[in-house]
Every structure is written in C-alpha cells, then in structure tokens.
C-alpha cells in the first residue's frame, strides 16, 4: 500500500456505484430548482463543466453543497482536474438503471421553462 494515489490526484470523491443509486434520491436531487438547473446545463453541454462555470445565485459553500447532493445521489460524476473540479452527468448509469427517465425530466424542465417566463 505504498501507492496511495492511483490516477495521480491525491483527492478523490466518493461516488455511489451504479447498483447503489436509488430512484428516490435521484428524484429528490432533481427536485431542487438550483440543482435541476445545473443538470440541465450539464445535459445541454454534453461534456464536463467546472463548478465555477455555473453562475448560481448562492455562495460558494452552498454551491459545493448542491454539487455534493447531486454526486451522492449518483446524478453527476466529479473529478479533480488540477485546480478545477469537473462535473459530468452520469448519463450511462442513469439510462441503464432508469431508461428514459432523465430525458423525460429534461424535456419536462425545458417545457416548463418555455411555459413560464422561459428566459
């Protein structure tokens, strides 16, 4: 065990395995407007985005908290890339576990955004 850091970074974050992801936790994670917005942007971009890319109307502490909720629910995957932390949707795992769910939620969110003030 002399080797501590497998991939080069000394920091690594706990992610639930695919089989550990619970539907209720996913729904709960998505039921917050801030977090749903983050997920929508991640899905729209399709790639990894840094935490600082998002311009959320809360402090950095709160932002960290929301990202952790999403990660612990299994919705996103976070990895450190130098000084930034990159966030990516776990689309493969979610689609594998709950086919169509993520797309339905994203479509619903998009529809509602149009229905309300859009923006």
């Amino acid at each position: 065990m002399t080797i501590a850091a497998p991939t080069g970074s000394s920091r690594d974050l706990p992610h639930p395995q695919r089989a550990e992801i619970r539907l209720e936790a996913v729904l709960h994670a998505l039921s917050d407007p801030l977090r749903l917005q983050v997920v929508r942007e991640l899905a729209a971009d399709g790639d990894e985005l840094s935490c600082s890319h998002f311009d959320l109307p809360v402090t950095k502490s709160t932002t960290t908290h929301h990202f952790r909720v999403l990660r612990e629910a299994g919705v996103i995957r976070q990895i450190y890339r130098g000084t930034a932390k990159m966030n990516g949707l776990r689309r493969d795992d979610l689609d594998g576990l709950f086919p169509g769910l993520l797309d339905s939620v994203l479509a619903a969110a998009a529809r509602q955004a149009v229905r309300l003030g859009s923006r």
Copy 2:
C-alpha cells in the same frame, strides 16, 4: 348562486390548476418512498382508490399529510364520496404538461423494485 354545493358534497379540496403544476413540486412529491408507493398503486389500479385502501406503515395523520402533499403538487385528485375520500392520478394533466414523465418514473420504480428485494 343559491346553489352552493355543485356536486352534492359540502367539502371540497384545493387542487392546483393544470397550469399551476410545477415540475419541482412533482419530483419532490415522488421522492418520498411512501408517496411513490401510493402513486404506483394508483397507477396500477387505474381507478380511484380510497385513502383507507392503502396499508401504509404510518399513522392516519401522517397518511393524510402525504396525500395532501401529492394533491397540492398536482399529482393526484381527491374527492369526497360519502364518508370516504377517493384518490385518482391526474394522469391527463401530468401527461399534458410533461409527456412521458410519469411513465418513466413508474417504469423506473418498477425496475428498482425488481432490482432490490422486489415484493
């Protein structure tokens, strides 16, 4: 306006109109295991069910609370029918607002039920 009670009952419950239903509220309502279970049974039955039909591991007070959350989120419709209160899924409204969402969630719940101890 001499007629007060349209359908015969003096009690009526506040329901959000279709346009008032918010995705976040729906997701939050479905993120509770008890409530998700109720919605699954309602969807399986396809018809209206009385509150007392459900055998939830909580007291009646708590049951009332959960049904109210579902109703106020716009997930179910409740009407008094004599001494019982019948509950029905607002499938038409939900499908109209968020096509495919409800079915995805139900399918996801069914899959997870099989994946875990089923029952």
